[in-house]
């Protein structure tokens, strides 16, 4: 009824190739952007920002980054935690070395630094594939965590080995540190997420994205039709690293404010982001959002329902959380192996035909 292509005429190539060709989709997208940018900042409080929205935004960036690598280019990576750590520590070093520079620049530089590291660890992907590549990136994960624990230069020789974000601003508005207002940290992360999602969406629709997908689907065939695997694989690692670096930088500076590499960026972080990508949907930008939302929100919702509404003991709820999240993951993967993005796609198909399915 509402969701249809009929009557939605395109009169130019630009219109025909836009991101959301269906009018309803487009307006929904504008509405989400408007609410996120114009409504939420005015109603947000510390709890919503720090417990729900910031982790969601930041994990969504990480999930987009990993999705490019795993979902679009088909290069399995278990090094996400380590690469996020590179972003965080690069951001910390830039923040302390150049205090007067805007926070935007620090985060972008941290992303760039991670892209370089990611490419270096992506080099083996030219020779090895599949599980073996996963093991190689696993090595990156352990090596990077070990490195940041081992070399005191990275944490400015602090006694505890922790890094803490000093106060930094953008145009005079505090972004990091305890006095940063909730709306500012939210907006800062939201701007990065929007930019990342736009870039990712357009990259994946263009030449680079198509070469990634060609490599993913069959690398030998791709090579024969003229896709350069070196370029395709390394650009995938670079772009993915850039996004993951940004998310690591934000995770440390804006969200947590102080991190310890082994605890914050351990192997469990790599798995968490990988689960987000798998549950959300491989090879889908929307899937990255859905997966991040699912794994960030679900524990909070379960906790609120269990502890605050039902009044159960906290440990029971924490155990139930593990059981329920685990069970839901299994149910999801059996019912819809292509993730939440596929559910969404199916729902859209059904809506197109509704109310006349035949």
């Amino acid at each position: 009824m509402f969701y249809r292509e009929a009557g939605d005429f395109k009169t130019s190539y630009e219109q025909d190739s836009q991101t959301f060709p269906i009018k309803f989709d487009r307006f929904r997208y504008y509405a989400v952007l408007a609410i996120a940018f114009l409504v939420v900042p005015f109603v947000i409080n510390d709890y919503w920002a720090n417990a729900i929205l910031l982790p969601f935004l930041i994990y969504a960036i990480a999930a987009i980054g990993l999705n490019i690598l795993v979902g679009y280019a088909g290069q399995v990576s278990l090094g996400t935690g380590g690469f996020m750590a590179v972003g965080a520590y690069a951001c910390y070093k830039f923040m302390t070395m150049m205090p007067e520079v805007s926070m935007f620049v620090h985060v972008l530089l941290a992303g760039g630094m991670t892209a370089i590291v990611c490419v270096v660890f992506g080099l083996p992907s030219l020779r090895i594939k599949g599980f073996y590549l996963a093991v190689a990136t696993l090595a990156a994960q352990f090596f990077l965590v070990w490195l940041f624990n081992r070399v005191p230069w990275f944490y400015n020789y602090s006694a505890s080995g922790q890094i803490s974000a000093p106060e930094r601003d953008v145009f005079g508005i505090l972004i990091t540190g305890p006095n940063a207002p909730a709306w500012a940290t939210y907006m800062f992360s939201l701007i990065f997420l929007t930019l990342c999602a736009l870039i990712a969406r357009n990259l994946t629709r263009g030449t680079i994205g198509r070469s990634w997908m060609a490599i993913r689907d069959m690398d030998i065939a791709a090579e024969i039709i003229g896709v350069n695997p070196l370029k395709a694989k390394l650009t995938a690692f670079a772009v993915s690293g850039f996004f993951i670096g940004i998310s690591g930088a934000l995770f440390f500076s804006v969200y947590l404010g102080a991190v310890e590499v082994g605890e914050a960026f351990g192997i469990s972080k790599s798995f968490l982001v990988l689960f987000m990508v798998i549950i959300g949907g491989l090879g889908s930008i929307f899937g990255s959002f859905a997966g991040a939302a699912f794994l960030v929100l679900l524990p909070v919702v379960l906790k609120v329902v269990g502890v605050d509404v039902l009044g159960w003991p906290t440990d029971i709820v924490a155990h139930f959380q593990l059981v329920i999240v685990g069970a839901l993951i299994i149910v999801f993967l059996i019912a819809e192996p292509h993730g939440m993005a596929q559910l969404w796609r199916v729902a859209k198909e059904k809506l197109r035909l509704w109310p006349f399915p035949h």
């Binding site: 510390d46 709890y47 720090n50 417990a51 982790p55 624990n149 602090s158 006694a159 505890s160 080995g161 922790q162 803490s164 000093p166 106060e167 540190g177 305890p178 006095n179 969200y255 947590l256 404010g257 102080a258 991190v259 310890e260 082994g262 605890e263 914050a264 351990g266 909070v300 906790k303 502890v307 003991p313 906290t314 440990d315 709820v317 924490a318 155990h319």
Partner: protein, 427 residues
């Protein structure tokens, strides 16, 4: 329907309003995960003492206490979530029982003007109250613990440990790294050799560390461990037949559950402590009578008198005493977080008070001041007797090396002040 929902929400808010008048103590506990073995008894002790105050005395100064428990799983992200969700409820003091979460919360509590008490953990240099206005770590901190270990070794060796070898087995995190600076200074001062053996989270794999100990044959081993790491370390030490009486843990590595699993092999294992052990105190009879027997205990009620239960209860007792002090200073029974901070800063613990509370000689006597948030730093040593399954105090609470620690505290806190543009001073 919408109207109804709004009214419902409003009435819920109104109902929550008067509840704010309680004295709210958030308990960021962890009853799950690899550190739960230590988290559970501490959380139980913390909760049971406040329940006792409510049941026996009708709260503190006539105002009931309210404990909000939030599960962190020793995870910093969940810790932040817990902090944000509880701070709006009128939280008086935070005790996260995690050095990682402490580091995260130090700037936040300072900005929100809520005090935080990190008893025997957290950032050691928070002892300097001129820089860390809202963070307290009385009565003792990690560096006192490190110095306490060395002092005890000095005592055993008639004041000379030159050339002896001491190995530190530590949790490779902010927590485990804390004592290294002090131990390095002390190694230089007393001429002993220090070797460092990090163990990664969660600490179940320590074969290589203990192999190294077996090879290097240090005279003494000290440990900064927590959770499952402790049990594994003690088992490994037993496996290589390292003499247990030369193995000294910090206070977080010296509870019943840490030594039980190694059985008789753990006999003689030592740990430093800053409070007394055992259940031979009148307060436990009260807890038994008012809390456990009435079915209001936070846990199963079987942890009473264990090391960490005592510590949780001690933490709650110090918080309650600070509330009383704050009530006295501000002349109101219904205090807020800022008043609580004043109360903590003016806290005086003397023997008469502790006898009144049913805890004679339970902890050291001390006065907190703005300059010194760290207390006296007196450290005793306990030893495990595997046959009777008890810890007993074998060396009384003694002063630690104030010169070395004081200098390090001043250095570290001034670095923090410079990094964060804090003008130090008392207000």
């Amino acid at each position: 329907m919408k109207m109804k929902l709004t009214t419902l929400a409003l009435s819920a808010l109104m109902a929550a309003g008067p509840a704010m008048a309680d004295l709210v103590f958030p308990s960021l506990s962890y009853r799950t995960g690899p550190y739960a073995a230590g988290g559970i008894p501490f959380a139980d002790g913390y909760a049971d003492y406040f329940t006792l105050l409510n049941e026996r005395d009708g709260g503190i100064g006539g105002v009931m206490t309210k404990l909000i428990e939030c599960e962190t799983g020793y995870n910093t992200e969940k810790g932040v979530e817990c902090y944000e969700s509880t701070k709006g409820e009128g939280a008086l003091v935070y005790q996260p029982l995690s050095t990682g979460i402490t580091y995260q919360l130090i700037p936040k509590v300072t900005a929100d003007n809520i005090p935080m008490h990190t008893m025997g953990y957290g950032r050691t240099s928070a002892a300097n109250g001129e820089v860390f206005s809202n963070v307290f770590n009385y009565p003792a901190n990690y560096w006192n613990g490190a110095s306490g270990v060395v002092n005890y070794l000095l005592e055993l060796n008639d004041g000379d440990i030159k050339g002896k070898k001491l190995a530190l087995v530590y949790h490779n995190s902010a927590y485990g790294k804390e004592p290294i600076r002090t131990l390095e200074e002390l190694a230089e001062k007393h001429g002993f050799e220090l070797s460092l053996l990090p163990v990664d989270h969660p600490g179940q794999e320590q074969k290589s560390q203990w192999l190294q100990i077996r090879r290097e044959r240090p005279d003494y081993v000290t440990m900064w461990g927590w959770g499952v790491m402790n049990q594994v370390a003690i088992q490994e030490a037993a496996n290589i037949r390292f003499p247990m009486e030369n193995f000294i843990g910090v206070w977080w590595s010296g509870a019943e559950h840490d030594v039980m699993s190694a059985g008789d092999a753990a006999n003689g294992y030592k740990a430093v402590t800053f409070h007394n052990v055992g259940r031979d105190f009148p307060v436990f009879n009260h807890i038994q009578k008012y809390v456990v027997d009435t079915g209001k205990a936070a846990g199963a009620g079987d942890q009473i008198g264990t090391v960490l239960y005592n510590r949780g209860m001690y933490a709650a007792m110090l918080a309650a005493e600070a509330v009383k002090t704050a009530q006295g200073i501000h002349g109101t029974a219904d205090i807020d977080a800022a008043m609580m901070r004043d109360g903590m800063q003016a806290l005086e613990m003397n023997e008469a008070k502790m006898v009144d509370l049913g805890m004679p000689n339970f902890g050291p006597t001390f006065n907190v001041s703005c300059e010194n948030h760290g207390g006296p730093g007196l450290v005793g040593v306990t030893q495990w007797d595997a046959s009777s399954q008890t810890w007993s105090l074998i060396s009384d609470f003694k002063a630690t090396d104030g010169d070395v620690i004081g200098a390090l505290v001043a250095e570290d806190s001034s670095a923090y002040a410079a990094e964060n543009n804090i003008t130090s001073g008392c207000n």
